[in-house]
């Protein structure tokens, strides 16, 4: 519900920006960034809707719409990438090797949870703004949640 209000608020702001100066203040890049944010929001909505559905035919339609919203997101993402408006942040090879090593060791030890020291060491060696395993920075829900997304646009 907060998200709805947020989106409505952006709509009003957009209208004012357009009429006040007479000129269009949103660039194509701004527009696609907001489209991407909207698609992420919708995908999250439908993911939730599927989990809440007891009615089989409604659930099937929510699943279909969820899939299409994900495809829309990808289509917007692809245009942004083609235009060079979306910078991917690749993982540091050293960090990859470290995680590989960590789980290889864990599996060699019979899949037992790691001891505290090893876990502590791993976290200490990871840079502060590192994305977690979902490609999401902890504690935020922003449009920047696409895996590896750099923030060239704005802070929400």
């Amino acid at each position: 519900m907060t998200h709805h209000m947020e989106h409505a608020g952006q709509g009003v702001q957009m209208h004012q920006m357009q009429t006040a100066g007479g000129a269009n203040l949103l660039t194509d890049k701004n527009i696609l960034s907001d489209c991407l944010a909207s698609q992420k929001f919708l995908a999250a909505c439908y993911n939730h809707a599927v989990t809440e559905s007891a009615n089989e035919s409604l659930r099937r339609d929510f699943m279909g719409i969820y899939q299409e919203e994900q495809n829309n997101l990808k289509a917007v993402f692809d245009v942004m990438t083609r235009q060079g408006w979306y910078n991917l942040n690749y993982a540091n090879p050293q960090d990859i090797a470290q995680v590989q090593h960590q789980f290889q060791q864990e599996m060699a030890q019979g899949g037992q949870p790691q001891n505290f020291t090893a876990q502590h060491q791993y976290q200490a060696n990871v840079p502060a703004q590192q994305f977690n395993q979902y490609g999401v920075q902890a504690g935020q829900f922003t449009p920047h949640h696409h895996p590896g997304f750099q923030q060239p646009y704005r802070n929400w």
Binding site: N24, L32, S38, E52, N55
Partner: protein
């Protein structure tokens, strides 16, 4: 017995209103942008939102029937 749960009704209400807002927003964006490729993808996405609204509206309207 109505064939929608409270949770489902809430989802329908939220998702239909979200789709309706997106239809308007994407239409405005399609008019505002300069690049043809950008305009095309926004227009395509907007059409899917119209279809989604219609699908969800059909569920909402069918739900009341056979209830009374």
């Amino acid at each position: 017995m109505p064939n929608l749960t409270q949770a489902e009704l809430m989802q329908l209400r939220e998702d239909i209103s979200a789709e309706m807002l997106m239809i308007q927003k994407f239409a405005a964006y399609a008019n505002m942008c300069n690049d043809q490729q950008v305009k095309q993808v926004i227009t395509n996405v907007q059409r899917t939102h119209e279809r989604h609204r219609d699908i969800l509206m059909r569920h909402l309207m069918a739900a009341g029937q056979g209830m009374m």
